[in-house]
């Protein structure tokens, strides 16, 4: 059972990570890539993203999310990669992949992992632009998405 959860301090290549992950030969591979946007939610330009992290709890939060996904879904392996530090628009911030014998578990695991990371991963995100910097907070949408995994334990 492969659980690989890593905090990264430099740019990474999601395509290369996916190719490496898929080489394990599972029947179903699902992945998600989150990229830094070049505008804020209000349409203001973003020149850079900064992610603050905790020296130990951040890595633990990535590992916890990955372990919980494996405990909950019928998976062969899971990969969670998450950047910290300065990130340019268009650069990947997060990459999540799940391998399973069948597609339902892989789809659900990746969906679950992103909702977990959005609310439980120990990062603090700041959007920097010409108009200034804003520290981001989770949205009602993020909280609702996270809550559905608690309500419906049958998934």
């Amino acid at each position: 059972m492969g659980i690989d959860a890593r905090l990264l301090y430099a740019p990474f290549d999601p395509a290369a990570e996916l190719a490496r992950f898929a080489a394990q030969g599972a029947g179903a591979i699902v992945s998600f890539t989150g990229l830094a946007r070049d505008t804020t939610r209000d349409g203001e330009p973003v020149s850079s993203l900064f992610l603050d992290h905790h020296p130990s709890l951040t890595q633990v939060s990535l590992e916890d999310a990955a372990s919980d996904a494996v405990a909950r879904f019928d998976l062969l392996s899971v990969l969670v990669l998450h950047r910290s530090g300065q990130i340019a628009p268009g650069e990947p911030i997060v990459f999540v992949a799940a391998a399973a014998a069948h597609r339902r578990a892989a789809f659900d695991a990746v969906d679950y992992l992103m909702d977990r990371l959005k609310t439980d991963a120990f990062f603090w995100k700041r959007e920097d632009g010409p108009a200034g910097s804003i520290w981001i907070e989770p949205t009602e949408q993020d909280r609702a998405a996270r809550a559905r995994w608690t309500k419906d334990e049958s998934i």
């Binding site: 989150g34 992610l51 603050d52 992290h53 905790h54 130990s56 709890l57 939060s61 998450h82 911030i93 997060v94 992103m114 990371l117 959005k118 609310t119 439980d120 991963a121 120990f122 990062f123 603090w124 995100k125 700041r126 520290w135 981001i136 907070e137 989770p138 993020d142």
Partner: protein
């Protein structure tokens, strides 16, 4: 005792401050004192969590010398 801050709090107060500790001090005491010293920083219990020796704790927790205390604004990863 060392207190660490993250995210917007690190910007408002600094990454780390040295804190003189008196016996019986609780997390709530530290939080209140910090809020008085830094009136523009958001330190309320509803949104900012306290972390004592790498575990999220309730404000009633007493702080011992040598402990590491951190304050976390709302998370925004993913």
């Amino acid at each position: 005792m060392r207190i660490s801050f993250y995210g917007s709090l690190a910007e408002a107060i600094g990454r780390e401050v040295e804190w003189p500790l008196s016996s019986g001090t609780t997390v709530a005491d530290v939080r209140e004192a910090l809020a008085r010293l830094h009136p523009s920083a958001t330190l309320d219990r509803q949104t900012v969590r306290a972390c004592l020796d790498d575990a999220i704790v309730d404000d009633s927790h007493k702080v011992a010398p040598g402990a590491t205390l951190a304050f976390f604004p709302p998370l925004s990863g993913g």
